[in-house]
Assembly symmetry: C2
Homo-oligomer: 451 residues x 2
């Protein structure tokens, strides 16, 4: 048996693209058949939409379902709309309820209708329940295939019952203890069923566990934090009446963690992690232009302030040459604080309670780095322009901008969170507008006073 | 039983800080005792080092171990150096080998010596084995507490054996099938032990599984990708001779995914995700100043090019006012492509094989957005300065800069990866230097030609 070779992903893609360039679609599709659904999804996302469709229609409907749930939303929507209603129904057969619930909003009307007809009463109820919760809540994330046992059942009874089942739902690591009306009482890890005495009762074993149930309305971000901090593999989900309604497994949580992380990087440039990298050029152009437009407005705000000092600039063109240095140093220093605080909020390290402490620290750092770099920049400026006044002015402007940058970088994210604006998305733009304006005004304003 | 309340984290921190401000350390420490180690670690990271030490020394050594492994490296090092050798030994007792291996490099010499004395022969060998692999490889990530079974053992035999064990290692979800010389043959999910016929042999059951073993030298990034793409909960680790040496569990992989994601955000501002947010001001100042210094050099490179057009700027001060607009639009457009491609490389969507396709697309997008925004900016410029020549010059400069920005943003990350430079760290700085220079030179150069 040879080890897993992940470097082969690039080889796979290279071979795939070669086959596609030769229009050998059958050959290309056959290359995919040996791979895991997650890998097939990555490969299909890495080729242009036209080729993607050609390949997709050559994949067996039975495996399409497993691949569908691995796509980013943009690609999922594209491919669902290329499929026949019949294939969609076949592909979604036997899908976990949480996965099905993710796909449902992207389905064409007719496919949804036919799909619901194929589900039995119990599964339709389960789907309805998952759909009744927000997609980004614990309820939207849960599976409904759980094994429940009574509190007075013994290890022996439960193992007999499981042997009759012949199979457990995928990734079952615990069975849940509920009373007659499905109130959640606790959980027992299945390893306990293998190691504990046969006469032990479920309720006793469950009291050893620390798995607290998750309320279905909890935001998925908080679910992810909980899984991370407590090293959970799965957790029971209850509704507001303490009734057990499902379980969340770590593989879905991993997706949340990855998506959240992708989101925080991508949104810094106004990008969406669910977008297809190979979407049509016009579509991409439109999406990107929004962010460029926002930036253009902020750029004009910044240069408007430069415009106020037109007369000063006309007197000393060295000011025009140097002003980007002041703005950019403030932008970099501010962004450091901004990212630190934004990530701190996301990971729970920074809250309103310790912000004052943190802000004091950041402003002190800004002040010290301001002084240090002000000296360096003053010297460099003097060497270049041999003008002591400009040297003095730029060093004061640097100190002012770095202090203000630290203050804004620390203050802004929490303000945005309070206003329910995503700091990862808007923080950077607003901050650099502030540091640009402060930089230009401090530098040119001081210059106007002394020149 | 009430649901888990994660909103209480902020309350916890608020109460903790209140107790600390009142110097009631005992009270503060007692607030921590009911919490999960991961949560205690987050809280301790959210208070300044002085308070952190006071609290830490009041926590029971028996639980300190579980908390230690949850800290970011900076904080772990700080607290290990505050501890007595004796407490360190007590805290690390019974720790998983992968966790112990993470701590070992941060231990004071004397503590390491005493710690090794407490380990029995078998555990010392295990630790040596884990330490023999790079910290960021599968071998450095693995646990050595595995349950192995022989291929000809039946379900009944194995369950009898497990009942004798009384307990399984934490998060055991599969037992591994090995031959006499520990060659890896396959794995059986423990749910199969509960549901399959008692006379079934392990080798038959393992053939149903698809868990391929991971080679100990595989980089942890690839391990994480594998877990994600295949929805694994745990995976066996083998050495180069196909001998089973350990297992990797999802909770450690979640940490890798989170760290990698944090790293890609933090390094965009030259920050390190392992740094203590509340490190001493001078320490932070020093760390930050490196990045500011790098930025200063790039800023001076950019303004050097402005300096070349001093005469032109003296003639038309409007050019000085408008030039940041050209640079900033290029920077934003380029950063969009850069982040897209950098993340694409990290997630496997973008490789050298499809870069040409992607680059063509991105340059087309840059061209289209360039034309669109060039028109808008030309109009805005004309309204402001009533100068058709400047309007024309700025619109041409915008188009040129956006095309070049798209090209650089797509090309740069793969070039940096080839040069073994982290694109998340260096990409942004280099790119904005390029777009600044192109922006200034295109704008002022064109202006110099026509004015």
């Amino acid at each position: 048996m040879s080890e897993v070779e992940t470097t082969s992903f690039e080889d796979c893609l290279q071979r795939l693209i070669k086959s596609l360039e030769a229009s050998s679609y059958e050959e290309a599709a056959s290359q995919l058949s040996a791979l895991h659904p997650g890998e097939v999804a990555r490969l299909l996302e890495a080729v242009p939409p036209k080729n993607r469709t050609e390949l997709w229609l050559r994949i067996d409907s039975a495996t399409q379902g497993d691949i569908l749930i691995e796509f980013s939303e943009d690609v999922q929507v594209q491919l669902l709309h290329e499929m026949e209603v019949e294939s969609i129904v076949k592909a979604t057969e036997g899908m976990d309820m949480d996965d099905l619930a993710d796909i449902v909003p992207n389905l064409p009307e007719s496919a949804l209708h036919n799909l619901l007809l194929t589900l039995d009463h119990k599964h339709r109820d389960h789907l309805k329940q998952v759909l009744s919760y927000a997609e980004d809540s614990a309820g939207g994330l849960m599976n409904t295939d759980i094994i429940t046992v009574r509190p007075d059942a013994s290890v022996a009874t439960v193992t007999r019952y499981l042997r009759l089942l012949k199979e457990m739902p995928v990734d079952t690591d615990q069975v849940f203890v509920v009373d007659r009306s499905f109130n959640y009482l606790g959980s027992v890890h299945i390893s306990a069923l293998l190691t504990k005495e046969p006469e032990q009762k479920m309720l006793n074993l469950s009291s050893l566990e620390i798995t607290q149930p998750i309320l279905a309305t909890m935001p998925e971000k908080d679910v992810a934090k909980l899984f991370e901090q407590r090293n959970l593999i799965s957790a029971p989900v209850i509704d507001e009446n303490n009734q057990l309604i499902g379980r969340i497994t770590i593989d879905d949580v991993v997706d949340v963690i990855r998506d959240e992380a992708e989101h925080s990087v991508m949104s810094m440039a106004g990008l969406d992690e669910e977008d297809d990298v190979f979407a049509p050029v016009l579509e991409i152009t439109k999406r990107r232009s929004v962010w460029l437009g926002v930036n253009l407005i902020t750029a004009f705000i910044a240069v408007f302030f430069i415009g106020l000092f037109k007369a000063t600039l006309e007197q000393k063109v060295a000011l025009a040459i140097l002003m980007p240095v002041v703005a950019s140093m403030g932008g970099v220093a501010g962004t450091q604080t901004l990212i630190l605080v934004t990530r701190g909020i996301a990971t729970g390290r920074v809250t309103i309670s310790n912000l004052k402490l943190l802000m004091t620290k950041e402003v002190a750092v800004g002040f010290l780095n301001g002084i240090f770099w002000a000296v360096i920049i003053a010297i460099a400026t003097y060497i270049w322009f041999e003008d002591a006044v400009i040297s003095l002015v730029i060093s004061l402007a640097i100190i002012a901008n770095l202090i203000f940058a630290a203050f804004s970088g620390a203050f802004l994210p929490l303000l945005l969170v309070k206003l329910k604006i995503d700091p990862a998305l808007a923080g950077g733009v607003i901050l650099t507008t502030i540091t640009d304006v402060i930089g230009f005004v401090a530098f040119l304003g001081l210059a106007a006073m002394v020149i």
